[in-house]
Symmetry: C2
Subunit: 129 residues, 2 copies
DNA sequence: TACCTTGTATTAGTAATCATAATACAGATA
DNA sequence: TATCTGTATTATGATTACTAATACAAGGTA
């Protein structure tokens, strides 16, 4: 999977990397059980420090998206993605985004249609606005 | 409208304040055209510095949620909330959240239903997960 | 054994953020 | 004149974020 980073922007590198991988999993570009590059390999490919990659991996592990074996490296988590409780922070962020949309005059039908569209292809995003 | 801040958490005060106001607008607790407290008044009520309130207000103004008249203070923006182009950052954040949901195994129907529910009452959030 | 790979703990240093405070100013209003 | 708006300025202290360099631990393999 191709990963591009914006080294000039304000978003931290490790967060960009984490988000790219989450998007990859969500889109199916990264299949369940698929191996991720080693921290050193990915760091070299991206031209960043290995600890920065490690920070992203650790974050993904703590959030339940990947598993890390000290011997064999990281891979996309197979099971248990369907956590019983969805993260509270996730719900708060979603509520805030929807509140912003309402404040800007978006109609309920538009929102629902947009969410359904993004669900199909999160990397493309919503082209209809 | 009642505003509560978490002074111990990690989220910046000015951001909490900004988000609370956005939620208030989105839920209709703050009507279009309604006046907001002055920066000094709100700062005193909340026990924070006036410049912190000013930072939140300036952010809300730059994002198109409120209008600020130097004479009469701030008020919820009446028109033009329906911006022709929805903020790119908003779409990116929504795409990321939906990708996270997919990665965790949420079904499309569940997502749509949840979004519709939150749209009705963003402050309540999604209780169904 | 020797060497490769893997992740990770530690340390460090630079930079940025955040909240606050004290003023001061411009403009409108009562 | 006195008082209310927002705002620009400057400063300060504390904290945190971010990235990097290095060394270590553990397992695989020739």
């Amino acid at each position: 999977m191709l990963i591009t980073l914006d080294m000039t922007g304000e978003e931290p590198i490790y967060l960009q990397l984490r988000n790219e991988i989450v998007l990859g999993i969500g889109c199916g570009l990264l299949a369940a059980g698929e191996a991720l590059p080693s921290v050193r390999q990915l760091a070299e490919d991206l031209g960043i420090n290995a600890m920065t990659v490690n920070k992203a991996y650790t974050l993904l592990k703590d959030q339940g998206f990947i598993e890390i074996d000290r011997r064999q490296g990281a891979r996309v988590r197979v099971a248990a993605q369907r956590t019983p409780h969805f993260p509270v922070l996730w719900q708060k962020q979603l509520s805030l985004l929807i509140a912003e949309a309402r404040a800007r005059g978006l109609e309920k039908e538009e929102l629902v249609a947009l969410c359904a569209q993004i669900f199909e292809n999160p990397k493309q995003g919503g082209e209809g606005l």
